[in-house]
């Protein structure tokens, strides 16, 4: 089924929906069975969820992630349910206490937070702007790496805006944003430096993966370029796992000893199998763990998303 997200404007109450992730390449409102299926369940409008939650962090999140007016959504992934699940999970009490206990001892050096594929930058901006409340310390460095050059520029701006709105709050606790590089996964990074890695990957099963380089940049139209870049943001190849599998194989070499990763998976990725394989491949005896720490469940037939935390229990 195609994934659509419902929106409701809090002022005028107008409702609308967008296809945020087609079920297979090229499907949409006109030809996907989801829209003729009577069992199809309406999603709750996101803005509504956030207001209902009523916690301070959520209100701040709404504030700090709202300003993405500069992001060109014809060519950069627009924040969707998956992005919000990441934000919800990273700001949940269990994750903030896990991260704080691992990263925020007084004498410890600045943690490095890296997001792969930051897209519009909402997640990295949120973590950077609220470093102190999420990670227990504002002495963090944050860095993004995205294959899409427009996403790199967007992330830098989104983060700058989030930091400036956080710095005017009564208790600023923002970290230091480094850069967003154009690159393939973690390949530009030195080994074993990353303390928190975040990845909302292209996870939809597709017959093939688009290339990371734009095809023959000169002779293709703007429309073709944009479609290519959007495809890059969701197309995951076999089981939706081709890009995620490459990231996973880099992980042990990339994380620091105290490092952990937050990875988004959908039901079609066979998350239970993925988690078991991580522990088996990396070595459960060496302390490697992979556990679900956030879910966004829906009725039967809906794509179910989850966040898996991968880390090493050191004693």
């Amino acid at each position: 089924m195609c994934k659509i997200i419902h929106f409701k404007d809090l002022e005028c109450k107008h409702r609308w929906a967008r296809v945020v992730r087609p079920c297979t390449h090229g499907t949409g409102f006109s030809d996907c069975p989801s829209f003729t299926d009577p069992n199809y369940v309406r999603g709750t409008p996101r803005a509504y969820i956030a207001r209902q939650a009523g916690s301070n962090l959520f209100d701040e999140m709404e504030l700090s992630t709202r300003d993405t007016s500069h992001v060109p959504y014809t060519r950069v992934y627009e924040p969707s349910e998956d992005s919000f699940l990441l934000l919800d999970t990273l700001s949940s009490p269990s994750e903030t206490s896990f991260l704080t206990s691992r990263l925020a001892s007084p004498a410890s050096p600045s943690p490095l937070v890296v997001e792969i594929g930051p897209g519009s930058g909402v997640v990295l901006a949120f973590v950077t702007a609220h470093a102190k409340s999420l990670l227990g310390t504002s002495s963090i460095l944050s860095l993004g790496i995205d294959a899409n050059r427009f996403a790199c520029a967007a992330t830098t701006l989104t983060t700058a805006k989030a930091i400036s709105s956080s710095s005017s709050s009564s208790e600023p606790g923002f970290g230091f944003y480094l850069d967003t590089l154009q690159g393939d996964l973690t390949t530009p990074l030195r080994l074993n430096q990353v303390d928190v890695l975040i990845f909302n990957p292209p996870y939809v099963p597709t017959p093939s993966l688009p290339s990371l380089l734009l095809p023959g940049e000169k002779n293709i139209s703007r429309f073709e370029q944009d479609s290519h870049l959007l495809e890059l943001s969701y197309a995951g190849g076999k089981d939706g796992m081709e890009t995620t599998d490459r990231l996973l194989s880099q992980l042990p070499g990339i994380l620091s000893p105290r490092g952990c990763a937050y990875l988004l998976l959908c039901a079609q990725n066979f998350p239970d199998k993925v988690k078991a394989e991580i522990v088996e491949r990396f070595g459960g005896d060496d302390g490697w763990r992979a556990e679900t720490v956030g879910t966004s469940g829906r009725q039967a037939g809906w794509e179910k998303l989850q966040i898996v935390r991968i880390w090493r229990d050191y004693v």
Partner: protein, 127 residues
């Protein structure tokens, strides 16, 4: 791209990772810009212990900055030495490479920096 970022990067070519020549990458034809960033002594004190100081010294010299001491200053030195604090802040947090290249000392590959964004995507024959 900030000078501080360079301290975390190597060549993206897989076979270069194990070579000490792939770090740090060497700036070439670099055009620099300076941002105004509020100084944060605590952040600097927490960042220094995790940097590769020798690599930073190399980068600093290659970009034409005054040479850094052999050893990184301790947190105490840093709080006592206003000038050192200011210099490191300016180099690490305020200086940006806007245009130019980063060259791998092992394979010679050049990564372009345009409009402040470094491109580490490899041409298909190097992947």
């Amino acid at each position: 791209m900030k000078v501080l970022t360079l301290n975390f990067l190597t060549c993206a070519v897989k076979s270069c990772k194990s070579s000490s020549d792939s770090f740090p990458l060497h700036p070439k034809d670099a055009e620099l810009a300076k941002d105004d960033v509020e100084i944060n002594p605590q952040l600097l004190a927490n960042v220094l212990p995790r940097l590769d100081w020798n690599a930073l010294r190399t980068t600093s010299t290659e970009l034409g900055f005054p040479s850094l001491p052999d050893q990184p200053p301790s947190p105490e030195d840093l709080t006592a030495d206003e000038k050192m604090l200011q210099e490191l802040h300016s180099l690490l947090m305020e200086t940006q490479i806007m245009e130019g290249k980063l060259v791998c000392g092992h394979c010679g590959h050049e990564y372009a920096i345009r409009e402040g964004i470094a491109n580490f995507l490899l041409p298909s024959h190097l992947v």
